[in-house]
């Protein structure tokens, strides 16, 4: 009986040991990402602290709010990076012809990419976002939302934002099938994403004309809206509705694009 337990444990401990050693091998990459993000956050933090030395409130944000803003923006960004890789992957797979192996799978290429984002997203959430959250709390004073409801709605909104990011990436990927060279478009999209999601600076700081452009675009749903909910600002109901609308639009469009693409692929012979 004791022997049985021993063997049971040994096997599992061995598995844990091997995966720990694998993590040890990856550790340099992860540590470098964490250090990088720490430095960038430190810059942001120091900047805003300096800005608020002579201002107590700007555009509806006080110091605590703005600090929370930049911290959460960074945390959300670390997970949102995963779907952003999809267009690059698709582009590469088409170029190298690897896409052929993926197209014959029982699950559609569209869904393959869709669920890839979630799998990978969870992985990076655990490996990077959680350590970053701990660092943010300890070093930069991240605070919890004011009410429990705010917190729950924030999580919901963040998830929806993630789905929107996935949708956006899939739409972009869908267009690759039409025009092979999309590198320029990707770069512009990355820039717009950075700017209009609120990652660069809260949208409230934008000049009026820029803000109205931002309101039209889906990018604000990924970072700006979830954070506003976290901080308890703005019309929560309206913001969640906007997210719902964008989810529907993006998923429909991307689905359509992919379906067209399948037809084209069959015609071209892969």
């Amino acid at each position: 009986m004791v022997n049985k337990i021993n063997r049971y444990l040994k096997k599992r401990i061995n598995i844990a040991k091997v995966s720990f050693q694998e993590i040890l091998a990856f550790r340099i990459d992860i540590v470098s990402i964490l250090i990088s993000t720490f430095i960038v956050t430190l810059l942001s933090y120091s900047l805003w602290t300096a800005i608020y030395k002579t201002n107590s409130s700007l555009n509806g944000f006080d110091l605590k709010a703005i600090i929370n803003y930049i911290l959460i923006a960074s945390l959300l960004n670390s997970t949102l990076n995963t779907p952003r890789r999809v267009p690059l992957n698709v582009s590469r797979e088409i170029r190298t012809g690897q896409i052929a192996t993926k197209l014959i799978k029982p699950v559609s290429y569209y869904e393959l990419n869709f669920w890839y984002c979630f799998g990978r997203g969870i992985y990076f959430f655990i490996i990077i976002t959680i350590p970053l959250t701990i660092i943010s709390c300890i070093f930069f004073g991240l605070t919890l939302p004011n009410t429990f409801t705010d917190g729950v709605l924030f999580v919901l909104s963040a998830l929806m934002g993630f789905v929107i990011e996935v949708g956006l990436s899939l739409v972009l990927s869908g267009f690759i099938f039409k025009t092979i060279n999309m590198d320029g478009v990707f770069k512009v999209n990355a820039f717009f994403s950075y700017l209009f999601s609120g990652r660069l600076i809260p949208l409230a700081f934008f000049p009026k004309w820029l803000k109205s452009v931002a309101d039209f675009l889906p990018y604000r749903c990924t970072v700006s809206i979830p954070i506003e909910i976290y901080l308890g600002k703005g019309n929560i109901f309206m913001m969640i509705s906007i997210q719902c609308v964008w989810i529907i639009i993006l998923l429909l469009v991307s689905n359509m694009l992919f379906r067209n693409a399948y037809k084209r692929m069959e015609v071209m012979g892969g």
Partner: protein
């Protein structure tokens, strides 16, 4: 030209421990072990010689080349090339030497071959006329011009090696070191390489030091051979020296329709000839200095009626070198 006295090179390497606990221990208390790459090696190379530096992998060949070219500094002992100590007077020595690394090219990957040569010409201060002279001389021997305008990354391994070797000639060095230059080359390119080196040796008196374990290289090119084993020098002499010192053997084999019979063979074959029977095959081994091949073959043919095939092999250099290794163990 090249003087090597009591050259020793040893260095400390991380001795990594196994397993998870080992890796953690390594972090706090790293262990080192000493590797002796070369032990007390001494030899001289005269101007105009082509030296074959032979050894198994890990014997210390590359280390020797690096020490001779000044890339490494010796732990103890002396190296002098044309009176200069390579590791101390690296710049001056650089004008006298060239190194061709077998697997790595010194040419710029994206540039056309002739552009790399322009760079080399500039780096070594070669006057334009001498540069043109050199290239046309080379072109006479191996048809080289078609390669000149091709980017290096588009060349095959053989073509690249050829270009590397040509590159090493540009500044007319007194000594050229080649570290396993013919690895992976097909016979045609190998021949071109050999031609180039032999001609350069004859016309310009360039000294060559080649590390290799390709017997073809040694037989075709080298007039002197040094054998290295586990960092120690075990032989230093000419090819003839090997023959004389370690004896040569000749092997003649006969095939017959009938089976060779033990007793009969023993009565026919003289005492100083070793023999072996394998039913229809008879193999004889002997020293051609002691036994006359012609009379031996005539005797065998006369004694056995149904000989169908004869095969004569003079011992290869490879065989002799293997013998030296075994003797020295």
């Amino acid at each position: 030209m090249i003087e090597v006295k009591n050259l020793t090179k040893s260095y400390n390497v991380y001795d990594r421990r196994e397993g998870l606990r080992g890796s953690i221990k390594d972090l706090f208390n790293p262990r080192y072990k000493t590797i002796e790459a070369l032990k007390d090696v001494s030899f001289n190379v005269n101007a105009g010689e082509i030296l074959g530096y032979i050894g198994t992998n890990g014997a210390g060949k590359s280390t020797t080349i690096k020490l001779l070219s000044g890339i490494l500094t010796p732990t103890s002992g002396e190296v002098k090339i044309n009176g200069l100590v390579p590791s101390k007077e690296r710049r001056r020595n650089a004008y006298n030497i060239s190194v061709v690394f077998g697997q790595r090219t010194q040419l710029s990957w994206d540039l056309a071959v002739h552009e790399s040569y322009e760079l080399i010409k500039n780096i070594y201060d070669v006057p334009q006329d001498k540069f043109n002279e050199k290239l046309s001389w080379i072109n006479k021997m191996i048809d080289f011009n078609p390669l000149m305008h091709s980017p290096v990354r588009k060349l095959s391994l053989g073509q690249r090696t050829l270009c590397d070797i040509v590159a090493s000639f540009i500044h007319s060095p007194k000594v050229i070191f080649l570290d396993e230059p013919t690895i992976g080359l097909d016979i045609f390119v190998k021949e071109q390489v050999h031609t180039l080196m032999k001609k350069a040796n004859q016309e310009f008196g360039t000294t060559f030091v080649i590390t290799t374990h390709d017997m073809n290289d040694i037989e075709k090119l080298c007039n002197r051979i040094i054998l290295i084993n586990k960092g120690e020098l075990i032989f230093n002499g000419s090819k003839n020296d090997i023959n004389e010192l370690y004896g040569s053997e000749c092997m003649v084999s006969f095939e017959s329709e009938d089976i060779f019979l033990h007793n009969y063979v023993q009565s026919v074959i003289p005492n100083n000839v070793k023999w072996k029977i394998d039913s229809h095959k008879l193999e004889l081994n002997f020293n051609p200095n002691e036994v006359n091949i012609k009379s031996l073959i005539e005797k065998v043919i006369g004694s056995f009626n149904s000989i169908t095939d004869i095969n004569v092999e003079k011992t290869s250099l490879e065989y002799l070198i293997k013998k030296i290794y075994e003797i020295k163990k």
